[in-house]
């Protein structure tokens, strides 16, 4: 994983609550055995019409969205299935952070493992950001992970929560599996003390 660095970006507003992972990437695109090539299918059924032409009303098809790295979404973003294809599609499109008031658990965990930062902000900041981007689609926010701050287009700097371990992994580009595998001794000791109740191979 590449270390997560500070950045400034325009915001793509998606003012819808409970956006589920079936909207982020519909199930029919999960037949792939690769992680790649999913950006084209991000929000597919909102983004394209029945003939596959871009829907001009959908925010990802508007000029201001091109090159933007921050998605501003409604409450409980990423609910539904466990598909990691959702953060894969979002990061391949270019997003590096999602700002909302809350995130679904599995989506949040999957995002953190893919250098996609879920930023939860209070409702007033959330509303301020939607208003700022409504007034000026080119408005930008600054994201500083080390200091856990988001700076709004109006210049308000707000702190956001991120657990210390995830922050460390993101900033250092640490791979979690590498960390787990350093604990092989402890895993072996646990296994020795806890005989398995099942054996799937017999």
């Amino acid at each position: 994983m590449k270390p997560f660095t500070n950045f400034e970006s325009r915001i793509v507003p998606l003012p819808i609550n409970n956006v589920d992972t079936d909207q982020i990437i519909p199930a029919r695109f999960l037949k792939t055995t690769s992680k790649q090539g999913l950006d084209k299918q991000l929000f597919n059924d909102w983004r394209y019409d029945a003939q596959g032409n871009p829907n001009p009303d959908f925010v990802l098809n508007q000029p201001a969205a091109q090159g933007a790295q921050v998605l501003l979404a409604g409450d409980n973003f990423g609910c539904g299935s466990s598909r990691e294809h959702a953060p894969w599609a979002l990061t391949q499109f270019g997003f590096r952070a999602i700002v909302s008031t809350s995130f679904a658990d599995i989506f949040k965990q999957n995002s953190l493992k893919n250098s996609l930062l879920p930023i939860a902000v209070p409702p007033d900041v959330h509303a301020e950001l939607f208003e700022a981007v409504r007034q000026d689609p080119a408005a930008t926010v600054k994201i500083d992970l080390a200091n856990q701050t988001l700076t709004t287009p109006a210049g308000h700097t707000v702190e956001f929560p991120v657990d210390g371990f995830s922050k460390y992994c993101l900033l250092e580009g640490v791979d979690e599996l590498g960390y787990i595998l350093q604990r092989t001794g402890e895993i072996g000791a646990y296994e020795a003390a806890h005989p398995a109740p099942i054996n799937t191979l017999v």
């Binding site: 909207q23 999960l30 895993i187």
Partner: protein, 447 residues
């Protein structure tokens, strides 16, 4: 200090704890399927490492597998490649695969319990959000992403943060025609689709105790639809009776030892929960959802909410948007609305008890010729049992399709799907936009 079953399960699986880092938790059973595993196996190959505990891992094909005649080749080449990749990966890494042609194939959350692999006191994971199903046995069972599938394959462990504990107390007796599905739909309608976020639910109370294991699985299955990654029910005699004699259940002296262990799992008297909610089973009516998330549920005869009468602007918008998508009017009940397709299946409701319930409704009746009814058993074992009871003939005589086991139209990635504009009623778990086919408008009741 008295502990909840959730805390007991957590404490007994701690491998390593370090200040500032999540807990390293041991996983007793890892269920694998074709859709969320290929990239994880690829990761193992890139690292040059193997699967640590193939004996605690088992795979099956369920999501992208067609539910048509298995002796025919798979038409969808991409799905065929994904299914073949699962078999190749399992062969290479020494994992037992109940694949396309196995006589034990089935939906991952149906076969774990029916094989006796899911047992009380275990941690169970799968790259699927409906893994909470296994919580019905008093297991801590939750869905994970593909990175975590790779972690478990490589180490049999996961880095996890402790969840909050959330008691859902359901007392009383269900009226005839009201089922387990109505309990969970009523809960989600009450707490909302994000209400359980960050928590593990424990379902307690007399109405839960009265449920069969299959019904308990239906309740736990949909914990994720309330935002909770896991939901569970403490084991009791119903659990033990279900497990006894199953292929992977302990036998002889091992059974007695396991039983003694399992009986220590239930929540201690006086243990405290972080959150709680109560459902009055006596007051429940059959539920149906009308919108585009599982929290949009109402009693079957109740009028749909009228957005104009909702005070919260976000809720008003979301209900209005859902009704628009569904082509429905607020203020009127859903009963009487024409439908095109009925889907009976999924990890929520495809077990033998569900099929018996459906059969009892269809016996001696005919499906309206304009309506397509698909009956998709949850596993080869469920299918065998249904055949032994003569259910396929009954379904066919009524005008239903009797299909091969798989997730089918619950996730609609195997070709079983709605045409644009069709309405379906389904026994599955999600009514998200497009879930059952692009621009389709799904809704579902309890069976």
């Amino acid at each position: 200090m008295p502990r909840t079953i959730i805390e007991k399960l957590w404490d007994s699986h701690i491998v390593h704890e370090q200040p500032g880092a999540p807990t390293l938790l041991f996983i007793d059973l890892h269920l694998v399927h074709e859709v969320t595993s290929p990239q994880a196996f690829e990761g193992l190959r890139e690292r040059g490492i193997g699967v640590r505990r193939p004996d605690l891992t088992i795979a099956t094909a369920d999501h992208s597998i067609p539910t048509t005649d298995r002796s025919l080749p798979i038409v969808d080449e991409i799905a065929a490649r994904q299914l073949a990749q699962l078999e190749t990966n399992c062969a290479q890494f020494g994992i037992r695969c109940l694949g396309v042609h196995s006589d034990r194939q089935g939906i991952v959350h149906v076969i774990g319990p029916e094989l006796g692999l899911t047992q009380p006191g275990m941690t169970v994971v799968c790259g699927d959000s409906h893994t909470a199903t296994h919580g019905a046995f008093g297991a801590l069972a939750f869905g994970i992403g593909t990175s975590q599938v790779e972690h478990v394959l490589a180490s049999q462990c996961l880095l996890q943060r402790k969840s909050k504990t959330f008691q859902v107390r359901v007392d009383g007796a269900l009226k005839p025609g009201v089922s387990a599905k109505d309990i969970i739909l009523a809960l989600i309608a009450k707490i909302g689709v994000g209400g359980g976020t960050g928590s593990v639910l424990e379902y307690t109370g007399s109405a839960i105790r009265a449920l069969s294991m299959e019904e308990r699985m239906t309740v736990c299955n949909m914990s994720i639809e309330g935002g909770a990654r896991a939901g569970l029910i403490a084991p009791d005699d119903t659990t033990f009776e279900y497990l006894y004699g199953r292929p992977h259940a302990p036998q002889g002296a091992a059974w007695d030892a396991a039983l003694a262990r399992w009986k220590r799992l239930p929540t201690d008297e006086g243990a405290a929960y972080d959150h709680s909610a109560a459902i009055d089973a006596d007051a429940l009516e059959p539920m149906i959802t009308y919108g585009t998330n599982p929290g949009m549920g109402v009693s079957i005869n109740a009028p749909l909410p009228d957005p104009a009468l909702l005070s919260d602007p976000m809720q008003r918008d979301s209900v209005a948007k859902a009704l628009r998508y569904m082509g429905l009017e607020g203020g009127k009940p859903l009963v009487g609305h024409p439908i095109d397709v009925v889907f009976i299946g999924s990890c929520t409701n495809s077990r033998i008890g569900d099929l018996r319930t459906a059969a009892s409704v269809l016996k001696g009746r005919k499906v309206n010729p304009k309506v397509r009814v698909m009956v998709v058993p949850g596993s080869q074992e469920v299918k065998r049992q249904a055949i032994a009871e003569g259910l396929p003939e009954l379904f066919r005589a009524a005008g239903c399709e009797w299909r091969e086991p798989g997730c089918s139209m619950c996730i609609a990635m195997n070709g079983d799907q709605l045409a644009p504009g069709q309405y379906s009623v389904s026994t599955s778990n999600r009514n998200f936009e497009g879930r059952q086919g692009k621009a389709a408008a799904p809704s579902w009741p309890a069976p």
